[in-house]
Symmetry: D2
């Protein structure tokens, strides 16, 4: 049999076995097991003013209650729209922005998805309750509501409060592990004073009542911005990370690992003029600009951002950050690095050419979805 | 504004923000976060004789080498064909059957996907080499080739050898973590005598040279059927598991956890007449019938099997097993339970009605794919 | 044989086998395995002024160098003097007070014993270097020099500096694990800026450069008093521990466990008038009074203390603490709890009688050793 | 002040502060922190026939019951007799030999000390019950009774049974952690069939009922000699360990670590003529000769042994083993290596001179204790 005859025979064979729901690996190996990560997730950027204005518009339209549960507008990565109206920000992560008006309550529920909140705007009157511990939310705070913990949000202040929600909706959907339960009342009963966990865990120590505590969920539920900011100031005494500037991960004080078991959370500080080197990694991330202005180059495309904006860094794409302003830049991000690491799938590569920085081929312009 | 006016306004609002790639959570929360696991994976069954015959037909058609890498026919779950010709057995798992003919070599490579081999047919002349350790493959053996270990297969015997391959192709694809590398020669150099790891790890002890060894990959690469069979005989002195009969997990002797870090591997023994109770769990599994005959009821559908057959138990579907033959049944299966457990997503529920057993509504018949 | 004859026969038997270095367990079981912990360690107290004055006297007498290594006066528990002049504070712990004069260097060495330093007096000009990281020592700071790390002490200031040394000399001696090595120069070379580890680990976060760091030795080597004090202030919002008041353990930020792997370190705050309940535990402790005045009742004996004093709480003795002053009391202590816990030997019991407080039978007076 | 004057002044100073129970570290540092491990434990050897004969003599003299608890003759290291009649085999370990006569019961109790049993002689009718699981004891079996588990021994056979007891009496005494409790009846109630744990844990697998089991105590309580022997046969295919021959550690199947958390247990096989190289380590060991004859050189002294004998290898002494017989030698030993490792104190050194073997300076002769 000649080579071309064999090829034809194999094609016929492939067609035949496909009728029995069988496939020939030799034809498809390269699609299943790729040399490098392949995916369809695209980088994207959303403007804060757009999101904020829409949310304020939605405010009077949507009453909070069991029918709505939450007043959130979420970031829909255009590349992940295949399932109709359900979408996320990356293959694993969902990010939305939530608005709570004075006096409102977003009722108590729990779910198997991990969730974090990062406070964008507010006068400190809003709070989250996690399994009975109440914590007030101030701009820059990171609040955890770990998987299957009861949580509700309320607002005792006078101004609208906005925060970022990060959940691993995509991951849990893929792994078919979604469970949800509403609490039978709007508010879960309180136990203990507000922010007890913040008092029990502090720099270098923990209360002796916590001696037996270990593992997840993290016993600390609010990572106050005032502490994090101080940490970043201290870090400036040392060399910055070449790819991420002065950067810290939020950690679970009982393990030293990621604050949330599955969603990684990181804060980066870029000093004026700082331009990092490019690298790429298996994990993906969604960024929120807490302060400052600049741009991020992702796979040769420039994404310009200013305070409040959100953008996506998909898996295994080269990326670097630049502070173009006169002030400090603070970039908060959620990522799926903890999942990649615990499963042994994380890899990282640094760009070697061109002194570690990409050439910018084009600048991102949001593409309006045609109706 | 009346309720219906509000509903109309919200619909218009949803359409408007979708143009900016934003979504209203209140419309889609129930799709993102479901009350119970939802997915599209269907249960399915493939007959051993079909697979075996096709493989023997492919034997002379396909030469082994760098163009083909492996002679494998894989199980294509009909519900997972959306990506064209690439498909798996469940949302996370890939299963295929490999044929190696006397004298052949399936060349050395490595990949980030985890892989296990379960030997179906062979005279013991075939072997796998894992990072330089050679192990001969006999019927019923489980051989590990952990992520990113070099592995090749060869055959010094005289009869065709068939084995089951289990890889976490779907998981790694979803998590965008695929890396692949061919070795620059067909065979990776040997180090040490064959089956050194089998000698170093035995029942209740390990060689003192392994004192520092801990974690993954498992240092034991071949779990001999003769040992496992003996273990199952011992288990018959105790009560069987209500859902799985006499059942064991293959374990990593340095941790007591799953033999492979991501792919769970289990062997079940059903004595004649045994009919287990039904349960369901988040993890999915692909079964291979090593010995015996019977059926499995999956969500009310009866899947009849005999020696050599394969079938899929998708996530969160009720299932129970029955031995209808006169001999012992041995069911080997791969699953993604280690992933679910390490990520905190595993849940299990037992059927309470009808004494824990389902009513059979229909019997599975394979649906030929229309060309 | 009558019972008394048997007893005589057994006594003769015991004498006979003892000649062959064999013993009859039936006679000695109760001595080997006691119903409750038994030991000879007594509680004791040393006055700060005594120690301080002696150290200042020793200052001009003793030149620092390789012959002396360190200018330290250590606490010799009277009950542990059996080995001649070598003694410790408890069965496992050694505590001393070190004096370093301006310009002096206590030369670099390392040993298998764990060591901690707690700074009592100083103007901040003194420093410790641990494996090349320099850290300045201020009153109230806890500095770690973990087992087998190179460490030297220097003094760039103008006033004498005093600090407490805590080592597990007794534990390591019993377990025959002592190793010691002097560095070939007085100072170990510096690497990186001072207090890099303090910058990398802060409240709730760690620098991303530390992502791979895990376990011991703790990467954080100085626990600043300013942070710990703030933590204790936060704790006052919650209920105090019934036995220890407002109390924190110093922790290794990569594990959530004890800062040093073997020596536990704890800081307690007693508010004015606070009188804790009594408990006892297997682990022993040596206390240093950082601030305030009061007393501790140990097994019915009252130990009155004021700022700077040291006292020993032996294993399994009832003890409770009282603040009799008008200011806040801060008690720092080292203990062997981590060893007891990792070996599964820790037990704790609370006093139930008399509302949890002991009756004071007598007051401690130091017994001068007759010459 | 001249150097000699200073020396005199320091001596006077030392005397003065000692009256206040204070010590000068500069005089004693070298005694507290030694360059290499120092201790008083001497190597020693006891003959099996001596022990066995004494036990048979004690048989009729001593009735088993709550007054005697156990009929055991223990090995009294001559160097550890300071506390009067209480003594052990090494600084941490106690070893004795127990005799149980047909029909006897050694009543149920529990203690914080870890204990292992190694069966020397018996017809299989004797058993140990551990927290309600009964296991029959055959020659060569290792049976665990982990800390604080209820255990009793009984004998349904017809011949006297002898076994070795290994407990960490010295360690627990030093760490003041001894607790003991007799059960209120002679026998603890049985639950489940005999040797359930042996059935649940087998080579390479464990029963699925044990999925959640992790850590200590080991769920496996009997390590059957038939399995261990088979493991050693497999090991002979590989190179022997230079210091210990063909050697295995007994492991906890849920962790891969030592079978008992604190007492290490090892079996070594020396083939005829085998002469190992010398090494030394911090941990100490007590050996029992299960089979064969030969000698061990410890710090230049030759200890000749034959079947049944016991000998002590103290910490940090050079030692090597020789099989002088025509048959296989099997040496079982208990050690405190797990404690040293978990506390970070283990060190090992290999002898480099003289091709790794010591010169024999003298041969051990037991010294009769003068009455």
């Amino acid at each position: 049999m000649s080579q071309s005859e064999a090829r034809i025979a194999l094609n016929e064979f492939a067609a035949k076995i496909s009728e029995e729901h069988l496939g020939p690996l030799w034809d498809n190996l390269g699609h299943m097991i790729t040399l490098k990560p392949k995916h369809e997730v695209i980088p994207y950027l959303w403007k804060w003013q757009t999101i904020r204005n829409y949310l304020l518009e939605a405010g009077p339209l949507l009453a909070l209650g069991r029918e709505s549960e939450r007043r959130v507008i979420y970031l829909q990565n255009p590349s992940l729209l295949k399932d109709g109206k359900i979408g996320y920000s990356t293959n694993t992560l969902y990010v939305g922005v939530q608005l709570l008006l004075p006096g409102e309550v977003a009722p108590s529920h729990r779910h198997s998805q991990a969730a974090i909140r990062f406070i964008i705007e507010g006068d400190g009157g809003a709070y989250t309750t996690v399994d009975g511990e109440k914590t007030y939310m101030e701009r820059g705070d990171l609040v955890l509501t770990p998987p299957w913990t009861w949580h509700d949000h309320g607002h005792e202040g006078t101004e609208p409060v906005f925060w970022m929600d990060g959940l691993d909706v995509g991951l849990v959907k893929t792994l078919t592990g979604s469970f949800f339960e509403p609490y039978h009342e709007n508010k879960y009963p309180l136990s203990g004073p507000p922010d007890g966990s913040v008092a029990r865990y502090a720099s270098g120590v923990r209360a002796i009542s916590e001696r037996k505590r270990k593992g997840y969920p993290s016993p600390l539920i609010n990572y106050k911005w005032s502490n994090i900011k101080q940490a970043l100031e201290g870090l400036e005494r040392l060399d910055p990370d070449p790819y991420d500037g002065y950067a810290v991960d939020y950690i679970n004080p009982t393990t030293g690992g990621s604050a949330d078991a599955r969603i990684g959370t990181t804060m980066q500080r870029l000093t004026p003029g700082m331009h990092t080197k490019a690298h790429r990694h298996v994990h993906s991330a969604v960024y929120h600009v807490l302060e400052g202005s600049g741009y991020t180059v992702i796979e040769g495309q420039k994404f310009e951002w200013e305070q409040g904006d959100f953008f996506v860094v998909p898996p295994w794409l080269w990326h670097e950050h630049v502070n173009t302003g006169t002030g400090t830049v603070h970039l908060f991000s959620v990522n799926d690095r903890p999942v990649m690491e615990i499963l042994g799938l994380e890899q990282e590569e640094e760009l070697r050419d061109n002194n570690g920085q990409q050439e910018v081929a084009r600048t991102f312009e949001p593409a309006r979805l045609s109706k």
